[in-house]
């Protein structure tokens, strides 16, 4: 077992895939000479050269479109958005081109493209740099949406995303880049659409993904001291969604808390809550609850940001109320 950071795990996944398949290239702002805005592509320019690790001007819509066009004729681009906040400038290409190309052409144009980059909230980055967009992209059929919480998952899921013939939205957590974890030395991949029970428990299920998993873990450890047994289901992939895993866990614990970094209205958690009430209503001992970001743009002020973000205290408080 190697101990890698989340960032290194992503890097390893890209490097290994690119070594095997010359049709894969990495494109984005600062991915090459600068070694990546968040250093995820460290060393890749030296290894693969400028033909395959390609710096772009600031033109998200343009280079997202270049990625899509090139994927139409057999390349397998990895398009890095410096952060997902800037992907909004390219959302036209992601939704109107990438997500639909195969469908609207009657199956003629598979779209083996990965859009990846830093996402998530926090760090006092203010309203325009601190947003979670998983729900936005998960809304769209034709896209796959992946949001790993651990280095191992980041590695295994990125490999599957690169190999997939569909457009993948791979949202990395900015906050997790430096987090270390065990990653097996030998090569492996993790199928898209498989959730993982990261912690077994009997009293309540936390459903979560990406960085919010850390809140779940900490809360579970805290509550364990009082004899409360929490199960944590890390979805890892929002589309395709592992509905079976969610329902199995609900049937076991009968209580559910969903944690997400995004806003509550039309957030992905709302979809999960719907699925649970629809398919496991009789198993529920309490309405499904959510801890989300507050329904406001992010403030720069430290106290207001703290108040806005989901956190361990709110998770614990919500669990106590459910279990009361």
């Amino acid at each position: 077992m190697a101990i890698l950071t989340y960032r290194e795990a992503l890097n390893r996944a890209m490097v290994e895939e690119m070594e095997k398949d010359p049709s894969i290239y990495l494109m984005g702002e600062e991915v090459g000479h600068y070694q990546g805005a968040y250093k995820v592509s460290q060393g890749m320019l030296e290894r693969f050269g400028e033909a395959r690790v390609i710096d772009t001007p600031i033109s998200e819509n343009g280079f997202a479109g270049v990625g899509v066009g090139s994927a139409m004729v057999g390349l397998r681009p990895i398009i890095e958005f410096m952060t997902w906040n800037f992907s909004l400038v390219a959302i036209d290409q992601i939704i109107n081109s990438a997500a639909k190309m195969n469908y609207m052409s009657g199956g003629q144009f598979p779209m083996p493209i990965v859009f990846r980059g830093a996402g998530g909230v926090g760090g006092r980055l203010g309203a325009q740099h601190s947003q979670a967009f998983e729900s936005w992209y998960a809304h769209v059929p034709g896209l796959k949406v992946i949001a790993p919480a651990t280095p191992k998952d980041a590695y295994g899921l990125l490999k599957s995303s690169i190999r997939d013939n569909n457009p993948t939205i791979f949202i990395e957590s900015e906050v997790l880049y430096g987090v270390k974890g065990e990653v097996p030395e030998e090569e492996f991949s993790i199928p898209l659409g498989k959730a993982e029970v990261k912690r077994k428990g009997t009293d309540l299920t936390i459903v979560t993904w990406s960085r919010a998993f850390l809140f779940a873990e900490e809360a579970a450890k805290e509550l364990e001291k009082e004899g409360i047994s929490i199960e944590i289901l890390d979805l890892r992939s929002l589309r395709p969604l592992d509905e079976t895993a969610i329902l199995e866990s609900v049937k076991k614990t009968n209580k559910v808390l969903i944690i997400e970094e995004g806003w509550p209205v039309a957030g992905f958690g709302a979809q999960i809550a719907y699925l649970i009430q629809k398919n496991a209503f009789d198993y529920l001992d309490h309405p499904v609850e959510r801890v989300t970001q507050r329904d406001v743009p992010m403030s720069y002020a430290a106290n207001l940001e703290r108040e806005t973000l989901p956190n361990v205290e709110r998770v614990i408080q919500s669990i106590r109320e459910i279990l009361k």
Binding site: M72, N96, Q108
Partner: protein, 328 residues
Amino acid sequence: MVSSIPKDQKSILELREFYRQMVLIRKFEEAAAKAYSVGKIGGFLHLYIGQEAVGVGSIAALTPLDYIVSTYRDHGHAIARGLPINALMAELFGKGTGISKGNGGSMHFFDKNAHFMGGHGIVGGHISLAAGIAFASKYKKENSVTICFFGEGAANIGSFHEGLNLAAIWKLPVVFICENNHYAMGTPEYRALAVKDVSIRAVAYDIARDHIEGDEVRKVRDHVKVAVERARRGEGPTLIEVSTYRFRGHSMSDPAKYRTKEELESYKQKDPLHRARTELIQAGVPEKDLDQLDQEILTQVDDSYRFAEESPEPPLSQLYQHVYAEDK
């Protein structure tokens, strides 16, 4: 009849072929307009009538390995590329036999084998896709050139500027062809373009430019060819503005009240089909040969209409097909 034309007159044969394609486009679209008016075609229907020489001339400058990227006004480009009109008409009718299996409709003709890379519905969005296709040709060291059609309205959107800049800095083998028909829906060019001559924008990206009238099909072909060859030599993109006119409204639902009858009439004088026909006759092609050709085309279009009508709708089982591609 080809046989009645002197064999040495290659360029006449060529013009006759261009004329055939242009008439095919026009008759196809007239049939489509009819089908639309009786509700057999749904959605939007943007006709290319009046602009035929641009598509036919431009595409004649390509080899089968070159790529074409089109807009929502894609019928003419598709027909000029030689896509089967039965499948095109069936696509308009939303039938399973359509070129995109009925999933695309008028705005989304696709034919992978013909390197016809789609009609695209978001104004200008496809300009960077074209850069991407050209990027892939360069990446794979293939000799293909991509041409990308768009209107002068599209020249105002970010994707145009980003696409041209990226193509320029990477010297991509792509030719950007602005079909300036002087209106973006109801907006005349002078209300939308700070500099009316779109081709001048090439200067901002330090790429080659060209500006021509689009009523003479062979002239279009010759100019586009220069740009295609430049791209093929690795000398990068060209922006060509072709001045043209659409005789119909923006789409079937547009009565085009924003322009005068006189203006329309003055452009109809320059109808590229009429022009080609006159030139052919002047070169000695008997008029009755051309009449017969027209008649053959009408029959072909009628057949496509019938084919489309009689084709089955896509099976409901297709609804969930192709949302995702099959596994690698």
